[in-house]
């Protein structure tokens, strides 16, 4: 088990190397001059040139890359040109809202999706099944920003049950924290719910025809236990894969919803940094998010083994 973990972490090195090179090149090849943006419209050529010199942007690109990677390896993601603070600090201060939102959206998605998927599979071909599948199609088709605006309008503006936008950290109390996140979590969770529900349905459909489900019934196991104990656990591997992917998407791709609901998350940080040509922050965020993504996949892989003994690695 432990050696498996080490092997997995070891195999991350090439992934992270490729990502770091790619992101570094993309950031440096795209046009736009950070010094010009920092100094504003009235800056002279000399001022810009001297700031570029100061920030090390005139060095050969390979040297710049090595300097950056060397820093990252020592836990130093560099300084933000614009915000004048260490990149890691800005990442960590924007991480909270994103993670909270992602977790809540995933919970919302799972609470809706798994029962729907199971029920639709169990009643395959029925009217309920068709109705639920149309609903999930709709859920996938409606863009999250539109859903967000609709939710904002109905629950925020008309009913006034929940705040329209903004963010309060967990330190101000769990309920205050959650109140601000419910609407964005719903608008983000809907698409994920649709995806997970469809996966749950198809995976359950396959499993419900298996012989061991018949065996369970022939043993006199109650129907709800046949479904939740015998079928669901077997159907869960593909569902878990989708959950892992959807969580990755939620952490990395909540930019639009974060903007609409004015959440100071990673999405906002990266959008703002791109506008400011804040190279070190862009690189830092992308690398950091890659790490999270890879980490989620690692957890999913480990959970496979927990659910299905056949996936467990041999322990000798």
């Amino acid at each position: 088990m432990l050696s498996y973990l080490f092997k997995r972490i070891y195999s991350l090195i090439p992934v992270l190397f490729v990502v770091s090179v790619a992101i570094f090149l993309i950031v440096h090849i795209t046009p736009g001059d950070p010094a010009a943006i920092i100094l504003g419209m009235e800056a002279t050529e000399e001022q810009i040139a001297s700031l570029n010199e100061e920030m090390g942007l005139n060095e050969p690109i390979v040297k710049q890359y090595l300097l950056w990677v060397g820093g990252v390896l020592q836990g130093d993601f560099g300084q933000s040109y614009f915000m004048k603070e260490p990149v890691l600090d800005s990442i960590l201060s924007h991480l909270g809202p994103t993670i909270s939102l992602a977790i809540l959206a995933e919970i919302v998605a799972l609470i809706i999706a798994i029962p729907i998927g199971i029920f639709a599979a169990y009643r395959r071909g029925s009217f309920t099944d068709h109705a639920l599948m149309v609903a999930t199609l709709l859920g996938m088709a409606v863009p999250s920003f539109l859903l967000g605006l609709l939710l904002m309008l109905s629950f925020g503006v008309y009913l006034q049950w929940l705040p329209i936008a903004g963010y309060k950290p967990l330190t101000e109390g769990l309920w205050t924290h959650l109140r601000y996140l419910i609407l964005p979590a719903l608008s983000l969770g809907a698409i994920q719910a649709a995806l997970v529900a469809r996966m749950t349905r198809s995976s359950m459909l396959e499993v419900l025809n298996k012989n061991y489900v018949k065996t369970a019934r022939s043993k006199g196991v109650k129907e709800h236990k046949v479904i939740t104990k015998h079928a669901l656990r077997n159907a869960f591997l593909p569902i878990l894969t989708v959950i892992g992917q959807s969580f990755g998407t939620l952490v990395t791709g909540a930019v639009v919803v974060e903007t609409i609901f004015n959440l100071p998350g990673l999405g906002q940080l990266i959008i703002n940094s791109i506008e400011r040509r804040d190279f070190s922050v862009i690189q830092g965020v992308v690398l950091f998010v890659t790490l999270i993504y890879v980490f989620i996949n690692l957890i999913v892989d480990l959970l496979y083994g927990v659910i299905d003994p056949r996936v467990r690695l041999e322990r000798k």
Binding site: R123, R124, G125, S126, K210, N211, Y212, K214, T215, A216, R217, S218, K219, G220, V221, K222, E223, H230, R233, N234, I307, D308, P309, R310
Partner: protein
């Protein structure tokens, strides 16, 4: 020796709703099974053996896919009238089943201990420790070595024969009165087959349960069954005791089956006998005799009208218009050979 029937099936029909209309996979089956008796059901693939057995357990979804007709009297009570909850109490307790492919019939994500304990905890109100004890006992009874260790293993860690023993342990854990064995040896290799057959026969004698043994292997029938029903396309075409099945088969289909057993002794001068044609589809059931299209003796009558199951002797029934003539012809043929 008067034995009271444990199971009486009367005119059982199983219909399935499919996209191409309704099909009737089991069409009017009537038979009985005495306590402690082993009855064989033979027939080709697709003849409705498995459907019949799963209908007796009521394993099909009755809301959307299947509809049953007739009566299934188990100890005098019609199973088809029972509620879902009552049926769940009987399944696995009085009525058990083992299936063809043990690996796919065991749940891959639970240990065999979990799976044996489950029915004990449902039906016998045992707590986990007692169930564990009993499960180990069952594994020992079915001849699994080192059951204390094996009980914590997963199905994929066992061999095919061991898996089927586990299935038998699950099925027998609550001491059922009736065991339905649906081709339990088909997926196993020959030596293991013999072991499993011996085990079932031994447990039948030891525990006194009735067994419905479904197979397509006549050798297996000869070995353990007292009576046999031959099924063709959803109906019983012949019912007889095992001895008569081999010495005096009546139905042309039964004769065909027996002739197609390879001879082990003597020289092999002839090609192995096969029954021509294939089983007609359930969507196009012939309205005359169902076997007519493949039967060497068929005439107009067979194509026009369906024969009924007729008693030839107290122990032998057959569904054929011409069985008497065929019998006579065979007798003449055989005496001229001598």
């Amino acid at each position: 020796m008067e034995k009271r029937p444990l199971l009486e099936v009367k005119n059982l029909k199983t219909h399935f709703h499919t996209e191409r209309g309704q099909i009737t996979a089991v069409d009017g089956i009537t038979f009985h099974l005495n306590e402690g008796e082993i009855v064989g059901v033979v027939g080709e693939s697709g003849c409705g053996k498995s459907v019949m057995s799963q209908s007796i357990m009521r394993l099909y979804d009755e809301k959307y896919t299947a509809k049953y007709e007739g009566e299934i009297l188990f100890q005098g009570e019609n199973l088809l009238n029972l509620s879902k909850a009552m049926m769940q109490k009987i399944r696995g307790n009085d009525l058990s089943m083992i299936f063809q492919d043990p690996l796919s019939s065991l749940n891959p994500v639970y240990t065999i201990g979990d799976q044996i304990r489950e029915s004990l905890m449902i039906h016998q109100n045992l707590n986990k420790r007692e169930a564990q004890q009993k499960a180990i006992e069952m594994l020992r009874l079915t001849g699994i070595p080192a059951p204390e260790k094996r009980i914590n293993e997963y199905p994929h860690q066992l061999s095919g024969g061991m898996q089927q023993r586990v299935m038998i342990a699950i099925a027998l854990s609550c001491q059922p009165k009736l065991l339905i064995a649906d081709e339990p040896t088909t997926a196993l290799d020959v030596t293991i087959q013999a072991q499993i057959l011996d085990l079932i026969a031994e447990l039948n004698a030891q525990l006194g349960m009735g067994v419905i043994f479904i197979t397509h292997d006549l050798g297996v029938v000869a070995e353990i069954c007292t009576r046999v029903m031959v099924m063709y396309l959803g109906q019983i075409v012949e019912e007889t005791d095992t001895d008569c099945l081999f010495s005096e088969p009546l139905h042309p289909y039964t004769r065909g089956l027996i002739k197609s057993i390879p001879q082990l002794e003597g020289e092999r001068l002839q090609k192995l006998y096969t029954i021509d044609g294939t089983v007609p589809s359930l969507q196009k059931v012939p309205h005359g005799c169902r076997f007519a299209s493949r039967c060497p003796y068929a005439d107009e009558l067979c194509k026009e009208q369906a024969p009924e199951l007729e008693a030839y002797s107290p122990t032998q029934k057959v569904r054929c218009w011409h069985y008497k003539e065929i019998l006579k012809k065979e007798a003449v043929h055989e005496s001229s050979n001598e």
